[in-house]
């Protein structure tokens, strides 16, 4: 079946602009995660959605970052007033309720802030 998809695959933006990154999880997966991965670094957790529960936003690095998940499916990560240090690969993952500790990742969005 279809895996996790993310768009765009690449995004170049100017410092100070807002960007929106999209994630389409695997159909039926109840959990959705956003991570950030910088060159040579591990995955940095950003935000976690589970069903209709309030999201866990504990990993968001600043109030410029926000995310929403509509209808328990598609999610959008928004970064306002982008800074150069926001440049990274943003990865989305989803998990099924029956295998909550297994994560299925999308290909990522490479964000470059110039």
């Amino acid at each position: 079946g279809a895996g996790v998809s993310q768009s765009p695959s690449n995004k170049v933006t100017e410092k100070g602009k807002d960007v929106e990154l999209r994630c389409d999880p695997i159909s039926g997966h109840t959990a959705l995660y956003w991570y950030r991965q910088s060159l040579g670094q591990g995955l940095e957790f950003l935000i976690y959605f589970q069903g209709n529960s309030a999201p866990d936003k504990s990993g968001l690095p600043s109030d410029r970052f926000s995310a929403e998940r509509t209808g328990g499916s598609v999610s959008t990560l928004t970064i306002q007033r982008t800074q150069q240090e926001d440049s990274a690969v943003y990865l989305c993952a989803s998990s099924p309720r029956t295998a909550t500790y297994e994560q299925y990742f999308g290909p990522g969005t490479r964000l470059t802030v110039t």
């Binding site: 591990g42 866990d56 993952a93 299925y104 290909p107």
Partner: protein
């Protein structure tokens, strides 16, 4: 705080040999430990999950062990092939569904 450590140096081995990658953690034992493969420019791919009360898990040429005394998980690839070359990430999940990932170890299998 909990830390998870993987060898930052690349592991170079010859085709056909067994590759062994190490994941160490501090403090409390995670309830679940996962291993992922990541190729350049791609997202991680889930490989195996092992629970705290399991000693070993196998899947085809892959084997994962979990030693709560040593606070260590070993990931083995038997009869390694050049196509196994990638970065391998371990991650643990404790009391929440939010895993902590290691930085990964690069494996290079030479033909």
């Amino acid at each position: 705080s909990q830390k998870i450590e993987q060898n930052s140096e690349a592991l170079n081995i010859q085709e056909g040999k067994t590759a062994t990658l190490t994941c160490n953690y501090t403090n409390y034992s995670p309830a679940y430990l996962q291993w992922y493969r990541q190729d350049p420019g791609r997202g991680p791919v889930f490989l195996l999950l092992i629970r705290e009360n399991e000693k070993e898990k196998r899947k085809e040429r892959l084997k994962v062990t979990f030693d709560t005394t040593l606070k260590q998980s070993l990931f083995h690839i038997t009869a390694s092939q050049p196509a196994d070359s990638a970065t391998y990430l371990c991650a643990f999940s404790g009391g929440s569904y939010i895993p902590t990932f290691g930085r990964g170890t690069s494996l290079i299998v030479h033909p």
